[in-house]
């Protein structure tokens, strides 16, 4: 196989129909860019799950009566609630926080807003039991068991709130993947069409090649490579788009969330997203090219 021959055929092929080639590359770029965006979504969600779920607690707020009169959680019903939580299989640890400590924490959290701290009185804050679970995802059971028990004002599950948040992110991720899929379909059709047009415009050449005894590799590899080259160019442009998107848009938006959503690092884009996009582009273009040649182009 003479590489120089195949290479020059590929270049002429791509240049022969420039508008079509550009359309093919751009569609592939959009599709792969969306796919990469979806993968970054997944990566971000994973990162957040790790950092959030570790800290997720169920907080059992105690009634005013206990908050005011049972400073150390030694009387009833506080002591037995605490005991039963500690005995629970799913619970990792239980920490009691009395009214004074709650006030201290409140002051710490709202350090930056003295007027708020000014307004708050320790008497307004309930004492609470901070419960850490082995598996934060199973907080639902606890919530049901302790809500409404004597001595319990209400049970607050951070996981519930996070769930809603993650659902939003998951929906964003799914939407991105769906658009990526539709764009991929358009890219595949364009690739198939370009190859057919390309094979048709080169039918004289291919006819002569067949006649002088060129193998299938020689007659068809240029078409296949044309598709693959366009696919790879599309992947590279898609990646470039993602990097640009990160610096121009995402960095600012994510910074505005105050760290609630972690920043997307350049390394996240380069690995594993970049090799995945390149791999996908090569596989899709090569398979589409191969099938098209098999079905529509006589050897």
């Amino acid at each position: 196989m003479r590489a120089s021959f195949v290479f020059s055929e590929v270049i002429t092929g791509l240049r022969r129909n420039v508008t079509m080639t550009i359309a093919m590359i751009l569609t592939t770029a959009i599709s792969l860019g969306m796919l990469g965006g979806g993968l970054l979504f997944v990566r971000t969600i994973d990162k957040m799950k790790v950092s959030y779920l570790d800290d997720v607690e169920v907080t059992v707020y105690l009634t005013e009566d206990i908050s005011a009169n049972d400073q150390n959680c030694t009387g009833e019903p506080c002591a037995s609630i605490r005991q039963s939580l500690e005995n629970n299989q799913a619970v990792e640890s239980v920490v009691y926080e009395d009214r004074a400590e709650a006030y201290e924490r409140f002051k710490r959290i709202f350090e930056g807003q003295p007027e708020l701290v000014e307004l708050a009185r320790p008497e307004a804050l309930p004492a609470s039991l901070h419960v850490k679970l082995f598996d934060p995802a199973r907080s639902e059971v606890l919530l049901q068991e302790y809500t409404g028990q004597p001595g319990v004002a209400n049970v607050d599950d951070q996981n519930k709130f996070l769930d809603r948040f993650f659902n939003l992110l998951n929906a964003g991720r799914n939407g991105t993947f769906i658009v990526a899929l539709i764009a991929a379909l358009a890219a595949v059709l364009l690739i198939a069409n370009t190859i057919q047009v390309s094979a048709y415009t080169r039918r004289t050449e291919v006819g002569i090649m067949r006649l002088v005894g060129a193998t299938r590799w020689y007659t068809q590899l240029p078409f296949l490579l044309e598709a693959v080259v366009a696919g790879v160019l599309g992947a590279i442009i898609g990646l470039g788009g993602l990097v640009a998107l990160k610096y121009v848009v995402l960095d600012r938006i994510l910074a505005a969330t105050g760290g609630a959503i972690p920043k997307i690092e350049l390394i996240d884009v380069l690995f594993p997203v970049a090799p995945i996009l390149l791999g996908v582009s090569i596989i899709i273009s090569a398979v589409t090219g191969y099938v098209t040649l098999r079905l529509y182009v006589r050897h």
Binding site: T204, E205, I208, R210, L211, G213, A214
Partner: protein, 229 residues
């Protein structure tokens, strides 16, 4: 070199067989005219040898290749031992004369140094040594056919098939082309030429196989075009 054994060919879209019970034996180094009226099956005959078509019945041998039975992936090797020339030249308009000839070698993977050596040689053989860098549209019909012959011959095929190679040329130019084909035949290449051209067949006095409605009706060792009719 070439043997057809009771070969029939019925195209899917037609009822009348294009060839019917054809048996022909051609030795190495022979020069054979294939004649007959339009539609008699001459091109079909040549296409069977190239495995452009498969016979409906019978056996086709070219050199050591059992043409009808060979697997598709071996067909390129068969075609590398056969050179082809057509009435319409089939040159690539965007390549020079030398590039057109080199193309036939490039696409079968011949090394560059071989190509740069043999292309000028074959261009000299066909009498185009000064015109290597011309484009096909800067050549006369006869010259274009010489390029096509050079391309067919550059890989030194065992067999040269020519389907009405003089069909688009005036009588003088046709004579020149025939001299060239004779020269190629003298190198030991078997030549099979389909033609309508009476005067060429009559003047060459070579073997003539006449087809009529797909059947061989005459096979003369040193024939002319129209005996008995």
């Amino acid at each position: 070199m070439i043997r057809l054994d009771s070969v029939s060919k019925v195209y899917k879209t037609s009822t009348r067989p294009a060839l019917e019970g054809v048996s022909v034996d051609v030795d190495k180094g022979e020069f054979v005219f294939l004649i007959g009226p339009s539609g008699s099956g001459k091109s079909t005959f040549l296409r069977l040898l190239l495995r452009e078509e498969a016979p409906s019945k019978g056996r086709v041998m070219v050199s050591n290749f059992d043409v009808a039975k060979m697997p598709r992936r071996k067909v390129p090797r068969l075609r590398q031992t056969i050179g082809c020339v057509f009435q319409d030249f089939r040159l690539l308009a965007n390549k020079t004369v030398a590039e057109n000839v080199a193309f036939a070698l490039e696409v079968i993977g011949k090394p560059k140094h071989t190509i740069t050596k043999v292309v000028p040689e074959v261009l000299e053989l066909v009498g185009l040594e000064g015109k290597a860098d011309r484009m096909p549209n800067e050549l006369s019909g006869g010259e274009q056919q010489r390029v096509a012959i050079a391309r067919a011959f550059v890989n030194r095929p065992l067999v040269l098939l020519a389907d009405e190679p003089t069909g688009n040329l005036d009588p003088d130019t046709s004579q020149d082309i025939m001299l060239l084909l004779e020269r190629i035949n003298r190198t030991g290449t078997t030549v099979l030429m389909a033609t309508h051209d009476h005067s060429i067949v009559d003047s060459m006095r070579r073997r003539v196989v006449e087809l009529h409605l797909g059947k061989v009706i005459r096979d003369d060792k040193r024939g002319v075009y129209g005996v008995g009719r």
